[in-house]
Amino acid sequence: MGQHVIRAASEADWDRVADGFARHADRDPARTRATVAHAMRDNPHGASGIVALDARDRVVGHLGVTHLPMRIRGDDYVFGRFYACFIDPAYRTGGVHSLFIELDEMFREAFESRDRLAAVFGQWDELDWWFLRHTRGHKAIATSIDLCRAAAGALPTGEIRITGVDDGARSPAVLDVGACGVRRDGAFHAWRTAVPGANDRGWCAWREDALVGVAIARDRRDERLLVDWAVAPDDDAAGHALLAAVVGDGHVPVRARFWTSDAFTLALFQAAGFSVEAGTEAYLSTRTVVPGIDYLSLSQSWHVTMADAGVHPLPRLTIGEPIVYPPPPGTADGRGRYGH
C-alpha cells in the first residue's frame, strides 16, 4: 500500500470520487459524475464521506454515505446509506483490507453520532458483508424479497387523487410513515425522482391536502422497476390507487424489491396479482449508534425500498479472499469476541 492521507470529503471531491468509482465499478465516467453529484452534492439532506488521497492527490479510496431523513417513533434522525464507495485495488493489500479499516475508523469518529448519523447502512457485496459483520459491527436488518407481477392488465383506480411528482414538489406535506420510515416530503420525493439518466417517474397520492402515498418507477428493458413505494399506515385505498398508477395499462411486468416485515404492503401487492420471489435475497446491514434504534427494531418496523437501499449492492471493496470463519464461541481463540 502506497503513501496516502485520509480526510473528510468536501464538495470539491465529488467529481474525483465519481471518477474513481467509475474506474472501480466499470461505469461510464460522465454518467457516474452526474449520478454521484446528484446523490451526494444535490441531496437536500446532504452527504458525508471520507477520502484517501495518494501522493499525487489522486482519490484512491472513498467511504461515503448519502443522507436519508428518518422519523422513528416521532423523532427525526438522519441515516446514511453507503454510496459510491471504492478502494483502489493497489490499496486493498497489506493485511486485512487496511485502507478500508482506516476509512471506516475515521468515518465512525467523524460522523456516527446521535446528532449527525444515527445509523449507517447499505447493501454490500457478500464477502464484504461477511467481513463487515465480523470486524466492523454491522448487523443484518433483513434479506430482500422481490414482488413480481406479470403483464396482466390494468388495476382499478379508486377515488384517491394521484398526481405527478411536480405537484408534490410544491407541497410542504410530509408522508405519515407510522412508527418508522423515511421522512418523505415533496422536495425529497422530487429529488429522488430526478436521478440522472434513469427516466424515473414519480407519483403522489393525496387525500385532500394530505400526502398519503408516493411511488417512483423506472422502466428498463422488459420490466418496470418499482424503485420507491410508501403509503400512509394501513391506507388501503391510497395503496390500491397508487399501485394502479404504477402498473398503468399493465402491459409490462412490474418488479419491486423490499426489505420489509410489513404485512399490509405484502397483502396489498399480493391482492393486486404480485407474487413473492426470492430475488437476490440481498442483505441490508446497519450499524447504529442510538440506544433503542438497533438492527432488530429496524428489522421489524422499517419498510425499505430500492430508493432507500440502492438498486444494486456496492461493488466489492475488499480483496475478495474466501470467508474465514472466526473461532467458535467458547474456545480459547474465540475469547474476547463474543462477550467474554
Binding site: T143, S261, S275, Y325, G330, G339
Partner: protein, 332 residues
C-alpha cells in the same frame, strides 16, 4: 468446570428425568410441544437416528441447573454428508440465573456447547429459527447470523378440485417406499436433511403424544409413491390452523404436489381450521408453487439463523440451496 462453582458436562440418558424437570420448570405447559418428561427426552435426544448433543450444568450439590441441547441431522450437501445441528431446549434454573454476573449461565452453556460441538467432525452448521429477542442473544454470544427472514405461506380459501390420476390416502407410519421416494428425490435437492423412513418415523410417528398425520400421494395406475406430506393442528397467530410440517415431492411432479396439498387443505377445512400454513425457504421451487396454489406470503416473527463451522459451506450456498421445512425444527 465453569465459574460460580458450576460444573458443565455432556448430558447422558441418566439425566433425562432431571433435564425434563428443569424444562418443565422453565417453560411450563406449551401447546406446541409434548409434555417435558423423561420419555420426551429419550425420544428427542436418545432416539434421534443421527445421535444427540447436549450439555448440562450442575451446581456444587450435583443438581442439574442448566441444559443446552442439540438435535443433529444428517444433511447431504452436493453429495457429501454433513451434520447440521439444531440448537434447542436451552434453559437454566431461575435461582442460579439470578446469582450469576454477566454473562449468565445461559450464555456460558451456549458457548461451552459451541466449543464442544462446533469443531471439526461435529456440527458443520448450527442453526435455529428464533424470534427476534432470542436472535439478539444468539447473535451476540453465539455468532449466529441471519440466513434470511423467514416467511409463512398461508392458504385461507378453498383448495382446487381433485387431481385426476393421483390417489391420496392416510398412513400411520413411513415404510421402505418412503425411503425409496427419498432416495429417488434426494439428488434433486442440493442441500437437504435425510428424510428416510427411520428418520421420519422418529420425528413424527414416535413423538410422545404425536399429533401428526401422514398423507401419501400415489399414482392411480401403478400405485407408485409420488409424494408425502405430514401435517397437524396447531395454534398460530391466535387461530386454530393446519400446519404442513413436511413435504417431499418431485419439483417437476405438479400433479402429485397439487393433489396432496389440496387434500391436506380440505382436511383442515373440514375440521374448521382457519388456514393452512407452510414454511420453506424463499429460494425453494415450492415457495413459488405454493403461491400458485393459492397460498399467500405473510411475515413471520422468526428469523432463520445459522452459524457454519465448515469452510466449504458458503453462506450463499445455504441461502440458495438448503431446503428445510418445519420438520427440521422442533417448534411444532
Amino acid at each position: 468446570m465453569s465459574g460460580a462453582g458450576l460444573f458443565i458436562r455432556r448430558s447422558a440418558p441418566d439425566d433425562a428425568e432431571a433435564i425434563a424437570r428443569l424444562m418443565a420448570t422453565a417453560f411450563g405447559d406449551d401447546d406446541r410441544q409434548p409434555a417435558f418428561t423423561a420419555e420426551w427426552w429419550r425420544w428427542k435426544y436418545a432416539g434421534n437416528p443421527a445421535g444427540y448433543h447436549g450439555l448440562v450444568a450442575l451446581d456444587p450439590e450435583g443438581k442439574i441447573v442448566g441444559h443446552y441441547g442439540g438435535v443433529p441431522a444428517d444433511v447431504r450437501v452436493d453429495g457429501a454428508w454433513l451434520t447440521f445441528g439444531q440448537n434447542c431446549d436451552s434453559c437454566s434454573d431461575p435461582a442460579v440465573r439470578r446469582g450469576l454476573r454477566n454473562p449468565g449461565l445461559f450464555v456460558r452453556l451456549a458457548q461451552a456447547y459451541a466449543s464442544t460441538y462446533g469443531i471439526p467432525g461435529q456440527d458443520a452448521v448450527m442453526y435455529g429459527l428464533p424470534n427476534r429477542n432470542v436472535h439478539r442473544i444468539a447473535s451476540r454470544y453465539m455468532d449466529y447470523w441471519m440466513l434470511r427472514q423467514q416467511w409463512l405461506l398461508v392458504a385461507n380459501g378453498e383448495p382446487g378440485p381433485p387431481t385426476p390420476g393421483i390417489r391420496v390416502h392416510e398412513a400411520t407410519s413411513f415404510d421402505d417406499e418412503v425411503t425409496a421416494l427419498y432416495e429417488r428425490l434426494a439428488p434433486r435437492y442440493r442441500c437437504m436433511a435425510r428424510r428416510d423412513a427411520r428418520v421420519l418415523n422418529w420425528r413424527f410417528r414416535d413423538a410422545p403424544g404425536a399429533a401428526y398425520r401422514i398423507t401419501l400421494a400415489r399414482d392411480e395406475g401403478d400405485a407408485t409413491l409420488r409424494a408425502y406430506a405430514v401435517h397437524r393442528r396447531a395454534r398460530m397467530m391466535g387461530h386454530d390452523v393446519g400446519l404442513l410440517m413436511d413435504w417431499l415431492c418431485d419439483p417437476d411432479d405438479h400433479e402429485a404436489g397439487q393433489a396432496i396439498q389440496s387434500v391436506v387443505r380440505s382436511f383442515h377445512g373440514t375440521h374448521g381450521r382457519h388456514a393452512v400454513a407452510f414454511v420453506c425457504p424463499t429460494s425453494s421451487t415450492w415457495f413459488g408453487r405454493f403461491q400458485q396454489w393459492g397460498f399467500r406470503v405473510l411475515p413471520a416473527s422468526y428469523m432463520m439463523v445459522a452459524r457454519p463451522f465448515a469452510h466449504e459451506l458458503d453462506p450463499r450456498l445455504l441461502r440458495e440451496h438448503w431446503f428445510y421445512t418445519l420438520a427440521d425444527f422442533d417448534i411444532f
